[in-house]
């Protein structure tokens, strides 16, 4: 069996055990941290589908987290509480935004794609700040949360925790299947040599657009869950710096590696907590660490855990 699958099995096993292990140390706080890292990982895996497999470096991916979160929050404010219904709304809204922005952005490629996604991200951010009815700049605290057919099982505690683990797993598995499928192979072929893929008869732009839609919708779902966890939304979710953070997670974890994206997310959250507890100005260390990692650790964290041949297959 593939080492990366073994690794993922251990990872998810640990995540499932956490709620039973952690109370021994008595910590609600740690559970909150793990949820935060998992939500980051969901968005990062979706971005990795774009960057790692599609070669499309988007600097506006956090916008979809923001759009998903706001779609959910606005639904909740208007009395829609069923989480399944909110999920449908979130998918529809993020999908629609991705369809419009993606079909324009994909007319360009390379660094122009990076810039145009950045521009769309900024447009999203300013749109969210203009929603005066939903808090504008300051964001919105939610007084009601989503329910599952009236039950509050998906709102907090272990119910929410397992929902997030489940979503992370579904994302992992879904993107794994996509990367193994013919669709994923065409996507990578187009990344490595778009002209050739085009000549072979594949409508490259359509494949890329579909990948873009899928990635946006997954990011939107992480936004939905983020609302459930934080009970608060603000435009800050969609700033370009957040998109930068997502790229950091993806690249630190290792491109084209779902396990890497999860590790990257945990790494970032832990670094922030650990460094932050020693030093209020932890970014003074974090910034140079990023630079050093780029200069000296080219393959990302995943390289330390995954064998070369497994990586070749995943990439």
């Amino acid at each position: 069996m593939d080492r990366s699958l073994v690794f993922a099995a251990i990872l998810f096993g640990l995540l499932l055990l956490m709620p039973f292990l952690l109370p021994l140390f008595g910590s609600e706080y740690l559970i909150g941290l793990i949820i935060k890292a998992m939500l980051l990982a969901i968005a990062a895996i979706s971005l990795d589908l774009l960057i790692g497999h599609g070669g499309m470096v988007s600097l506006g991916h956090a916008a979809f987290v923001g759009v998903g979160a706001y779609a959910t929050a606005i639904g909740l404010e208007n009395g829609i509480e069923n989480i399944l219904l909110l999920l449908v709304i979130t998918l529809a809204v993020t999908g629609f935004v991705a369809l419009v922005t993606g079909s324009l952005a994909l007319r360009t490629s390379g660094v122009y794609f990076l810039m145009i996604t950045l521009a769309f991200g900024q447009m999203t951010y300013f749109t969210l700040t203009s929603l005066a009815a939903y808090g504008g700049d300051d964001g919105l605290t939610l007084w009601s949360l989503a329910t599952l057919f009236g039950s509050d099982i998906v709102q907090s505690g272990s119910g929410l925790y397992f929902l997030v683990v489940g979503t992370l797993f579904a994302t992992w598995w879904g993107v794994f299947q996509i990367s193994r499928s013919r669709f994923g192979r065409v996507l990578r072929a187009a990344r490595d040599n778009p002209e050739r893929a085009e000549v072979m008869g594949y409508a490259v732009t359509r494949y890329r657009l579909i990948a873009y839609l899928i990635a946006a919708m997954i990011a939107g779902v992480s936004g939905l869950l983020l609302v459930q966890h934080a009970e608060f939304v603000s435009p800050a979710l969609a700033t370009w710096q957040r998109s930068g953070d997502l790229i950091v997670v993806v690249v630190l974890g290792g491109l084209g590696s779902r396990n890497g994206a999860i590790l990257g997310a945990f790494f970032i959250v832990i670094i922030e907590e650990v460094l932050g507890s020693f030093l209020h100005e932890w970014r003074l260390i974090y910034g140079p660490v990023l630079v050093l990692m780029v200069l000296f650790a080219k393959g990302g964290i995943a390289d330390l855990f995954v064998s070369k041949d497994a990586k070749g297959r995943a990439a």
Binding site: V57, A119, F120, T127, G287, P288, V294
Partner: protein, 308 residues
């Protein structure tokens, strides 16, 4: 809308455009010549603003502080080039984004630690204080005029250097085909170091002249960086002329849009709707412009020839 107000806004837009051009010039050349995405370019603008603040505190003279700041910004840029950027030219855009993102995080935090999180300000020098009577109803601050003029002067010097000198020829050739220039025996590494140093100094200069107008604060470079990227994309990567036109376009559209978007919308829609949408639309105008231009001219308005 009165003519006077319109004129003042046009001048403000022109001045903002000049500021954007100073930052964009370095960024677009660095990108054009080396294909290097430098997200930290905006931070160099912030560094310029803090430097002039610090030197004014130290020396008490704005003019002395300007020259000291320019020198320091140049040295700072060269140090960054030697220790970090030089090692990233051959790496992917992704690595470049990541490393320069790390530099942003570090410098923003450093500014917060050294100068505090509060906004600071610098007074303009005395001989540039006050305002000029332009027409009967229009007075405009001298300092803002000075920024427009210094921007124009820098633009003219840059244009002359790039169009008529040997180094300018090499830069143009480098932006078109770095490999070819290198194959002809030009030390492209050194050429780039010069371009990079001057670019860092120009960004620093923009920060210096912005310091008396805008608030000096940590993170002030982040938003202007994004706007600068919009400028160089609209203008065409690697193109100084394109950057100049795009900077003016963006400066004017942004400034005028912020003042008139709500007014124009309210002629079409209900006032309450216009009030809600206007400010957001105004903030978005330049991004809409960029998206529209990219859709119709994917390489920008005046692309440098041969840039990928």
């Amino acid at each position: 809308m009165s003519t006077t107000l319109f004129l003042i806004l046009c001048l403000n837009g022109l001045q903002y455009g000049m500021l954007l051009f100073l930052i964009a010039a370095g960024l677009t050349l660095v990108f054009g010549v080396m294909g290097f995405i430098n997200l930290a370019h905006g931070v160099q603008y912030m560094v310029g603003a803090y430097l002039v603040y610090a030197y004014v505190q130290l020396t008490g003279s704005f003019i002395v502080a300007v020259f000291l700041s320019l020198g320091t910004a140049l040295i700072f840029g060269l140090l960054l080039e030697v220790f970090v950027f030089r090692h990233l030219y051959t790496r992917s855009h992704l690595d470049q984004v990541l490393a320069t993102f790390g530099i942003i995080i570090f410098l923003n935090e450093l500014a917060k630690v050294v100068f505090g999180p509060a906004t600071l300000s610098v007074a303009p020098p005395e001989f540039l204080a006050g305002s000029i009577q332009l027409t009967e109803t229009l007075r405009y601050p001298v300092y803002r005029f000075a920024t427009i003029i210094s921007g124009l002067v820098v633009a003219a010097v840059l244009y002359f250097t790039i169009s008529y000198t040997r180094i300018g020829m090499l830069i143009r050739a480098g932006a078109t085909s770095a490999e070819m220039v290198s194959a002809l025996g030009v030390n492209i590494q050194r050429l780039f170091m010069i371009v990079f140093g001057v670019g860092a100094m120009l960004a620093g200069f923009a920060g210096v002249i912005a310091a008396p107008i805008f608030a000096i604060e940590p993170g002030m470079g982040d938003n202007i960086l994004i706007v600068t990227f919009v400028v160089i994309i609209i203008g065409g990567i690697g193109s100084i002329g394109g950057a100049f036109i795009a900077a003016l376009l963006v400066g004017l559209i942004d400034t005028l849009g912020r003042s008139f978007a709500t007014e124009i919308l309210s002629t079409l829609f209900s006032p309450s709707f216009a009030n809600q949408i206007g400010p957001a639309l105004a903030s978005m105008l330049i991004y809409i412009l960029m998206a529209a231009i990219l859709v119709f001219r994917p390489k920008g308005l005046l692309p440098a020839k041969g840039v990928a």
